[in-house]
């Protein structure tokens, strides 16, 4: 979203180009150093265990944007324009982080215990498609879930279902606006500038508001229009649904 794209500027300048991969030659101690840097600088988005958060899960044998060591080195240094910031790491540090990230891909997660097919039935039965699109089908109020398994690990998926406000996608913000004539609009922020704000309400209707015409503009941090499914799903249904969502991936 527009608010997020503007900060990544001072990071565009890592000219280091990977030559030969050093990952195979890293000592255990160097991998441990990579882990420390990872936990400090990468875990915020990719999860402390690499299972994903706002950024994609790294617990995969093949990373979509970093299919070999050189690409992995490059992405750690330069980031992905508009999505992931580059780093200021030295070449040595970059290789150590890359080594740790590669090791994450070999971890057997063991976190997915549910059944994908049953999970798909739960998804349909509980009306998730009213607000979410999978492969072009469904409502568009909530995030598109077509490849959600690429970007969200099982822990994050569980949190999103049980306590959605604690696991919000970056930039998602619920707003309550009260106009000067007393009208109340509650919805997700679509965009915002100095003088205006754009919202979509629970009925997926679009509202364009000028801030000078508002009596109140309340930012409901940590809240969302999505209800918690803690009580409406049996534990096995929850496991199955997580398994189904985690299986939703881009074709390799």
């Amino acid at each position: 979203m527009a608010l997020l794209g503007v900060f990544a500027l001072l990071h565009g300048a890592s000219p280091g180009i990977a030559q030969d991969s050093r990952i195979a030659h890293l000592s255990e101690e160097e991998i441990a150093q990579g882990e420390r840097i990872y936990k400090a600088q990468c875990a915020l988005c990719h999860g402390i265990d690499g299972a994903g958060g706002t950024g994609p899960s790294l617990q995969r044998p093949v990373l979509t944007r970093a299919r070999d060591d050189a690409a992995l080195f490059s992405i750690v240094q330069r980031g992905v324009p508009g999505r992931m910031p580059g780093s200021w790491l030295s070449e040595n540090e970059t290789w150590r982080v890359a080594g740790y990230v590669q090791a994450l891909g070999k971890v057997e997660t063991g976190d997915i215990t549910g059944d994908v097919r049953r999970g798909e039935q739960v998804y349909k039965a509980k009306g998730c498609a009213g607000c979410h699109i999978i492969s072009g089908e469904g409502g568009s109020l909530g995030p598109d879930l077509t490849t959600i398994g690429d970007t969200r690990g099982p822990h994050h998926l569980r949190a999103s279902l049980v306590e959605p406000g604690a696991a919000l996608p970056e930039g998602l913000l619920l707003i309550t606006a009260v106009t000067t004539d007393g009208g109340k609009i509650r919805g997700l922020r679509v965009n915002e500038d100095v003088f205006t704000i754009q919202l979509r309400d629970a009925a997926n209707r679009f509202h364009s508001l000028r801030k000078t015409n508002l009596r109140e503009l309340r930012r409901e941090f940590g809240k969302t229009l999505m209800p918690s499914y803690q009580d409406s799903l049996a534990p096995r249904e929850l496991d199955d649904l997580i398994a189904y969502l985690a299986s939703l991936r881009r074709g390799e």
Binding site: P15, K39, W88, G171, V194
Partner: protein, 533 residues
């Protein structure tokens, strides 16, 4: 036929055969507020337009007159210059275009042949503008050339290599033209350069002097560096400074010491980094210095605009330099002597308890970067940055574009290799809805906050106050707007459709006031709808 008269006037000026913009004309812009002849409008860098046709009463009738779209990718950060019916803009990727200021139609374009492997270590591929002197337009390039173009045709008069780009030396700042000389600063503070400020003969391009920002062996201040660390001590001069012709002094900020976030290899204060230098324009000799942030480890460059103001302090009229620093403190210095007069917090910060009587920060312990990250305010980009503040002699307020944001600072390895990143760490910003921006009005004599006009994200845009009682500013979200200079109340706004990362200017065409800004990859020029004056 108003239009024909304008063209005729232009021809007459062109035929006069006189230097278009002699030094005295820049020095005396106060009597010619209809032009914008130097980066900050005037040598004192107040970025205050004396034009007063557009006011709080009629600004609601401001309308776009023309839009000029630049080619190429990147961010426009240029301040255009306007003289004698022509607007000069440095575009993206080392292109300069002269525009007919009445229509926005290009008159000529010069494209510098930029090598593909040009290094810009630590900053984007940007250019912040040029300088005019006589009949020549001067600008710097990312590969560290200073180029003089014929202002009428764009033909090259001369090119001078200022630094070695293979070692990370680069130019992004607009040069400053003074009497017979072009002053130019250098970028490269994340590449372990040794910073300097240069003066070149305006006619020939020969170097008149070089003033290093990092003292060499035997020079005063060299002992504030451990071992050979001064050699890669950075101290870049990457933003245009100010000039007091009466005192013959240039005021120029210096950047961070290298490496940025790991100070282990450079014990000491690291002079003259994160400082303001007063340099004799005729000789290049350092007259005085004031270091804002000794032994900086947060990349808080002091590359902001030094604003020269005359005001009474404790009942005595003083020649001052006001400096809203990236480190979140506002300073007043005597610009003749460098004497420290005031240092006061003007933005959220967690690194210093205050400023002592000599102007030195009193540090909060354990605020240095760590391997695991250490949360400190302000962020790496500071409380403010390169975008220009503005001072209004009418309100006696300094208007500062603000960045209210914190960062986790990381410490990492730092090993110098020529032409490579030399930083020793990094940051993780608390951005999104955890950060915000504003235009903040400070009482210039005390630094006290008068008002704050808030924006959804930390600003990258400069401001301009006018004699019409307005302050013009922008936003990352594309808004260009006018505020009441006394109250900060918004009076007019326009959505340009792209990030605004430049400084607004104002000028006259045929006696009518215009306002210009960038927005995205375009320039917008505004004036009052006819009949509203």
């Amino acid at each position: 036929m108003k239009r024909a008269a304008g063209v005729l006037l232009l021809l007459v000026c062109g035929h006069a055969g006189l230097a278009q913009v002699p030094y005295k004309r820049i020095r005396d812009t106060a009597v010619e507020p209809g032009s914008w002849l130097t980066y900050s409008g005037t040598y004192d860098s107040q970025r205050f337009s004396k034009l007063d046709q557009i006011t709080a009463e009629n600004v609601a009738d401001l309308r776009p007159v023309w839009v000029y779209q630049v080619e190429g990718s990147g961010q426009i950060e240029t301040t255009p210059l306007v003289a004698d019916g022509v607007m000069y803009v440095t575009e993206l990727e080392a292109r300069v275009t002269a525009l007919d200021v009445r229509t926005g139609r290009p008159l000529w374009t010069y494209q510098h042949p930029m090598p593909e492997n040009v290094l810009n270590i630590g900053f984007g591929r940007t250019n912040r503008g040029g300088a005019l002197l006589g009949e020549t337009f001067y600008f710097g390039t990312l590969d560290a050339y200073l180029i003089a173009l014929d202002a009428k045709s764009g033909a090259v008069r001369w090119k001078t290599k200022v630094g070695d780009n293979k070692l990370g030396y680069s130019i992004t700042a607009a040069p400053l033209a003074i009497d017979g000389k072009i002053i130019v600063g250098i970028s490269g503070g994340e590449a372990g350069i040794r910073g300097f400020l240069d003066a070149y003969d305006a006619d020939t391009g020969e170097r008149a002097w070089r003033s290093y920002t990092i003292p060499g062996p035997g020079e005063l201040g060299n002992d504030t560096w451990g071992g050979d660390s001064w050699k890669t001590g950075a101290g870049a001069t990457w933003l245009t400074g100010s000039y007091d012709p009466e005192l013959d002094l240039l005021y120029w900020g210096t950047g961070n010491p290298g490496p940025d976030w790991n100070g282990d290899s450079r014990p000491g204060d690291n002079l003259y980094t994160c400082a303001l230098l007063a340099i004799e324009a005729s000789t290049g000799k350092l007259r005085w210095y004031f270091q804002f942030t000794p032994h900086d480890v947060h990349d808080w460059d002091s590359n902001q605009i030094p604003v020269l103001i005359d005001l009474p302090i404790d009942g005595e009229q003083r020649k001052l330099v006001a400096f809203a620093n990236r480190n979140a403190f506002y300073y007043l210095l005597d610009r003749k002597t460098g004497e420290f007069l005031l240092g006061t917090q003007y933005s959220t910060q967690t690194w210093a308890k205050g400023i002592d009587k000599k102007g030195r920060p009193i540090l909060v312990p354990d605020k240095e970067p760590t391997v695991d990250g250490n949360l400190t305010y302000p962020s790496l980009q500071g409380a403010t940055n390169w975008m220009s503040p503005s001072y209004s002699p009418t309100t006696k307020m300094l208007y500062v574009p603000m960045r209210e944001m914190g960062s986790y600072y990381f410490k990492g390895e730092a090993k110098y290799e020529p032409g490579k990143v030399f930083v020793g760490g990094g940051e993780r910003r608390l951005d999104g809805d955890k950060a915000w921006g504003s235009i903040r009005a400070l009482r210039a004599d005390t630094g006290d906050r008068v008002w704050d006009f808030r924006t959804p994200s930390p600003l990258w845009t400069g401001v301009m106050a006018t004699a019409g009682g307005l302050v013009f500013g922008g936003s990352n979200e594309g808004n260009f707007y006018a505020l009441d200079a006394v109250t900060g109340k918004p009076l007019w706004d326009f959505q340009t459709g792209g990030v605004i990362r430049s400084n607004p200017i104002s000028f006259l065409i045929d006696g009518k006031q215009y306002i210009a800004t960038s927005g995205g990859r375009a320039y917008f020029v505004f004036s009052l709808a006819s009949g509203s004056l």
